[in-house]
Amino acid sequence: MDKVLLSGFMGLPIFFFVMYLVFLIAVRASDPVIGIIEGGLSWLFLEQLPAMLDLLSVPSWITYFLSDAIGGGIVTIGTFIPPIFFIYISLSILEDSGYMARAAFIADKFMRKIGLPGKAFIPLLVGFGCTVPAIMATRTLENPRDRVFASLLTPFMSCGAKLPVYTFLAMVFFPARADIVIFGLYFFGVVMAMLTGLLLKKTIFKTEPGNFVMELPPYHVPTFNGIMLHTWFRLKDFILRAGKTILTVIVLITIMQAIMVPNVFSSEREKVSVLEVAGHAITPVLRPIGIENENWAASVALITGLFAKEAIVGTMQSLYSGHEMSMDMAEEDELPSSLSENLQDRFGGWKAALAYLLFVVLYSPCAAALAMLFKEHGSRWTIFSFVYLNILAWIIAMLFFQISSFTPGSIYWIALGLGILTLIYFNMKSIGRRNERTT
């Protein structure tokens, strides 16, 4: 079997096919389950609970808090569970069958080219689940250089929390080809990781990677109990750890949506929510990637995504279907009937949506991952990772949007993007030279 799976000719295509299969299962199999869970939880928390609280004559703000904030948060978390469950099941099958170690061996050939040992493939693969354990998994690498290097590349691997964001936007903007778009985004993250790896190898980490020694376990048919136990432990960990953050963020967003302040960005000084003010503040920076002023909710989602990536969907669901978004629209007498229509209307087309998705793939990891990076490698590498990822995400998304919707003004933005990239390269080179002098 190894003759085929590890062969130079067939090994790599089989590896990519298996990875594609994992994401196909995650998207296709989870889709009907998401509908059932969402419907059931919405009926319970958003219909029955407020009705029951009304019967008990509970004040309306408590009903709003329990039903819209906490209930809405539980519904959002419920929709994340099926895709993550299917991803974890697929990874458990690969691990238990013995293919995962073979995948690390196949990956070693191209990992060397980006300056990492093949063993670093495992933390990067764990990164598809969550960036926090992925950074922790870099401890298995003996060489400190490899540990820092691999940790800097883990945020490029789209974590399980980003999958709901991809699924949500891909289903709205590319309903017929959602699975290909999602796989493409995952693949794009991997490609950017490789390009960053090459850049780091040429500039900051010029030394050779550490040695690679790994056992290849024998092939065997995975047992149902083994797969379910692995999946359950991982899913439980995700729900307990990420669920708490998501629920807190969604409750905070719902509260912030209810708090009204005068709009400092408008001459009329009408009262708007705190979130809208924050979104308006950063939207001009995101305009080159296709986020217009009226689409401030997309900017807010990016801010909440810094706390937990899962919160992006929660924020979008609450802001694009809420009354806040529809205030301006009421004037035009074109109130969108659904969340999907609202999204399509605000983004103004697939180009802006795809540029936004590219930004989500690359921008800063969540607060928990940054904290772990700080714990493992100190403030210097944490700041480097945060700044580099955000600038890179902005440049790539901007280049995509400006090239895909080309206007004469795009030339200036493209030139600016390329100029910043050159600046990053020379800055990294100087860091590398400084490192060489100190060592």
Binding site: D2, D108, K109, N211, F212, V213, M214, L216, P218
Partner: protein
């Protein structure tokens, strides 16, 4: 201080000389140079990580995969199979059966 450094250098030299492989020319080969399908006995190995995994002096080892353009080789020791870095494989000396 200088005396201590000299002692350490002497100690390092002493232990390194103990670790040198006294293999007769033509008697054994680096593991990385053995072709696929051949098996042999480990003659010299100073790498602790591979010793811990069972590739110690006297153990039977067979080459499962060795392609010169690849950075690793796959070896079989007993029932276990290991992926070894070519740089490590170069330091392990094997006598072909």
């Amino acid at each position: 201080m200088n005396a201590r450094r000299r002692m350490r250098q002497w100690g390092n030299r002493f232990f390194q000389s103990r670790r040198l492989c006294h293999c007769q020319r033509g008697d054994c080969l680096p593991l990385s140079e053995i072709i696929e399908g051949k098996s042999g006995t480990v003659y010299c190995n100073n790498d602790l990580r591979t010793i811990e995994r069972g590739i110690y002096i006297g153990s039977k080892i067979s080459i499962f995969r060795n392609e010169t353009q690849e950075p690793n080789i796959i070896v079989a020791v007993g029932d276990a199979r290991y992926v070894l870095d070519r740089r490590i494989a170069e330091t392990i000396r094997v006598r072909i059966d």
